[in-house]
Structures are given as C-alpha cells and as structure tokens.
Symmetry: C2
Subunit: 337 residues, 2 copies
Amino acid sequence: MLNRQWILARRPTGRIEPGVLELRQVPVSLPDEGQALIQNLYLSLDPTHRIWMSDMPQYMPPVALGEVMRAGTLARVVQSRTPELAPGDLVSAQGGYQDYALVQPQAVSRINPVAGTPLVHYMGLLSHIGATAYFGLLEIGQPQPGQTVVVSGAAGAVGSIAGQLAKISQARVIGIAGSAAKCGYVTGELGFDAAIDYRREDVAARLRTLAPQGVDVYFDNTGGDILDAVLQNLALNARIALCGLIASYNAQGEWAGPRYYRNLLMKRAMVKGFIVSDYRARFGEVMPKLAAWHAQGLLKYRVDVQPGLENAPAYLNRLFDGDNQGKLVVQISNDHP
Amino acid sequence: MLNRQWILARRPTGRIEPGVLELRQVPVSLPDEGQALIQNLYLSLDPTHRIWMSDMPQYMPPVALGEVMRAGTLARVVQSRTPELAPGDLVSAQGGYQDYALVQPQAVSRINPVAGTPLVHYMGLLSHIGATAYFGLLEIGQPQPGQTVVVSGAAGAVGSIAGQLAKISQARVIGIAGSAAKCGYVTGELGFDAAIDYRREDVAARLRTLAPQGVDVYFDNTGGDILDAVLQNLALNARIALCGLIASYNAQGEWAGPRYYRNLLMKRAMVKGFIVSDYRARFGEVMPKLAAWHAQGLLKYRVDVQPGLENAPAYLNRLFDGDNQGKLVVQISNDHP
C-alpha cells in the first residue's frame, strides 16, 4: 500500500511556486504499539500553512525541510494498536498533506457525526474554524447590541462565521471582501448589514460613511492596508481580535507595520492576537452552540470542496489570491461511509 | 494685575521651534458668578502637549490657534465667586501656560497636602503621573511574581514609577533609557534589575540576553524602534500597556508602524492603549496606596523643577531630547505657603 506525501522541499519566498512542495510516494508505515494508522479523507487548507513554511519565529515550529507538510485532516482509523481507537473511528487530526498518517490517540479528537450533518462540516463550522470565529469575536471582541463590528476576509471560512456571530449578538456588521460576488454573498445570504469591496473601493472612506460613530470591534483576518483603514475609523475603547495577517504572509523581507498604530493610543483601543489551539479545552462547550445556531438557520456555512491530494498546493494559493469562498477543503479519498 | 500667557501661534512641524508659542501679557480677568480665579504655582510639562499642538485626530480636541496652551497646573485660589472654593485653597487644575486662570469648581480637584510632603509631589507621584503608572502597569500589564517587565522611558516621570510598581509586584524589571547616567539611576537608586541604554546598545540583542524567556509585560512610553525591539522578544501571552509614543510625536508626515506587529499574533500578545483621565473616578482609591509605598521607601521619585514660565517652551523640548530626569515641572510663582 502506497502513501502519497507532499514534502516541504524548499522555503517559499513569495507565492507557493511549483517546487516548494514535492510529491513522493512511499510505502505506508504500520503502527507501533500505542499508535493508530489513519487514512485522511479531507484536508483543511488554511492560511497559516504559509506561515509554517517559513522559518521566521512563529507560534509553532516551522515545518522542517524534507518533512511532510503539516495540515489538519478529517480521517478514518484503518489499523489500531491502541485501545482508545478502533478501525472505522472518525477523527480530527494533524494528518498532513498525505494519504495516511500514524497518530497517537491523545493527538486526535474523535468525531461523532450527528445524522444529517455532512462530514465535511467537521472540517469547518464544527472544527477549529468555527471555534476561531467564536473565541475571537465573542471573547476578545465582546460586541454589544447596537455596536458596529467589521470583519475582513468576510466571505472566508472564519470571517463568514464571525460576522454571523456578530449578528447573533445584535451588532451591526460590515464585511470587507475582495469581489462584488463575495460582497453580495455576505450581505445577501449571510445577512451582513453592509460590505466593502476592498479591490474597488476606498475602505477608509467607505467606513467613515458606513460607521460614522466608529468601529467598536474589528475581527482582523488580513492586516495590511485594510487594518490601517480600520485603525483610522476606530471608536473609543475599540477591540481588535487579531486572527490573521494574510495580506502579509507572502511578503518578502520585512513586513510593514500598521501606519495608524498610534490610533490604538488615541482611541484607547485594544489588540489581542490569538491562536485557536489555546482554547482547545473549551471546544466541547462551544460546538453544541454553533451546531444549534446552524440548525436554527442563524449560521450559514459554505464549504468549497476540491478534489485530489495531488492538487493541494495549487488550491492553497487560492487563499492568498482571494479566489475561494467559504472553507477550502481538499477531498483526498472517497472511501468513507 | 497682568497675566502672562503662552499662546499657540502656529502648529509645529517637528520640534517646538521659537514662534510656535508666543508670550503675551493681558489684564487678569475677574471671576464671574460660579467661577474662581486661580494663580498657577507649578506647571506640568508632559509629552502629550506635543500631541495637543497638532491638528491630527487625538483623544482631546487639539488646542486651537490663538488659544492659551493647555497644561495641568497646581494652583492657589486667589478670588472666588463660588461657595465650593475659598481663597488660599490649593487645587490641581488645567490651568494652562499662564499665570492666572478662571475655573469652574467641578473642573478642579482640591489638594490637601500631608505635612512633610513637598507640594510639588502633587504634580507627580500623587497626581495623574502616578495614576498613569499605576493603571497602566498593574491593571493592563498585570505582572505576576517572577515575570519579566520592560519599561521604556524608564528614568522619566511615569516610567520610573511603573518600574518600581513592577518591583513591588515581585517581577523582574528591565528599564530602557537614553544615557548611562539614567541607566545608573534606575538600577542604582530605583532598584531596577537591569537597564539598557538605547542610544548606545542594540536593544533587541540586549533583551535576548537579559530576558531569554521573553518579555511578559511592556510598559511603552516611546513606541518607535524600542517597541520593535520588544516585539521581537515577547513571551507568550505578553501584555503591552501603550502609554505613549514619544519617539514619534515630532515626526513629520506619516508615522511608520511597528515592523514586528505580526508578533502580537505569533505570541498571542495584547496591546491596550490608555489615557489616565479615563480612570479619574478611581484616583481616590490609588493615591493613598502610592503615598504609603512612598512613605515605606518602596517608591522613590524625582522632580525636576525649573524656574520661570517664560522658559516653559524651551523646557518642553527636553522631554523629546531625552535630557530630563524625573517629572519635569516649571515653577511659575514662589508666592505660596
């Protein structure tokens, strides 16, 4: 039995060009005592993968050259030498860009799909993605009824949920996204109050019009010029949940800092960077809430499933080109119930 | 009776050059019903005066051209047409760069000096200065015993108190200041564990050596390159109390943002801008604590008293040149008990 693996062959300097990841085939390794062999069914493509490919200081060790590229997967146990996992079990794991992986039971979370919920939702709304939106928006942002919330990457996996959670909190929500179609999606389908197309509009000027009292909460997925536009429009005591800086991940050399950083002082504002894995112990408390809002029609969610492990690096670039809508997932195998 | 007044004649573009403030003499205005006339004894020179001179968006309205330059003062009531103030009362007021001012009683705080405490301390440790250090360091920074705290502007009015409050919290404290003399002052007299002379040392490299586990709390008075050096050395879950950005106040055109802003994400760090006036309702709870620590010898404090209202603009530049040590105060009148 063969295992296809995408190996980090060299570190990217900008976009993920051909040759950064290399595909190889190796025999599947069998589990040692205490391990299980899993088959990856779905691979989650996340902007943070670009960070892991770089050797700059970061929140986890970067992926080493020659290693299988790291990624979260939804997988099925195929062999087990640990009593905690049995063949057929579904798990959320850090399975990587490959067909098969060996895991320890304490490094995976078992998934018990509710009837009627597509499996792929456990890669999105009911996974680290939904939890990221939940903790960033509700615990760091703390929007109050009637306040104004801005979300960048609004049509993306996390942003689309964050904006809807703001609506559930009775706040006004302005989404920022990269096309007229995405803007139409967040206002039309997701119920955002307004949207700004950052490729065609002056974001700072539009925010002045749309949020004349200022922005109380900003859920930042992008950093860059959009962050500066929001900093120019902060309300007093604003909160910024710093979730990602995707505008900068492909930048070469030094990143430019936000030019309006000073407004954090002028507006007594707060910025808090966060990583969802710090909240992992509380996922169990959050998932039923997300599932309930979804069942009530208050949380809509789109998954963009693309086929083929062999295409994963090409899909990954879509996150940075702004070409995807909703959570981007690669289907690795059809071989699941 | 004449009143000397420094008027904002034009907005500065960099340093406060001659001609930005102009001295004029006008007759003293007498109080209307409900007002009191105060004589300013001491004038507090604060970095924020430079912000008030600019017409950029800020946390209070800028001083208008042709107006008396705004400043906090310690003053004595000389005439009163309000029952709440009597001639001879000492007050803390926004008396401005002038000999005399008219005030409403609700806009001033009465000072009841404790025997043995020099009056000028009510312009420093026991004023907005001490409160700034207290709320920024203890409420935003929340240093824990054994954690590492870094304070920039460490020999300055606020920084010297912030660092000592960190010691009282049983944290390790590293001061950053602009001369060997200042560094010697904070380690020798104030009890900081270490100091870095940012004019002669590589701050980022020295922090790597002095704080190998990273910086847990940063009390930022300066922004600029020092902020970037600290951002490169953050511990996980670090807190930054953003008190001032004095490195940038004289900058022309756009300010550069911190190049290592991304590390707020990588280290799940928090930045909170604050203005001490937001905490004014709690000054009464804080001043007795500061006074007690001072009496116990745990909080040392230096006031740099310079004579003559006529010299105030020249003294103000010292704050930006890094030439002063301790709280900078101008003595306007000797005429006090």
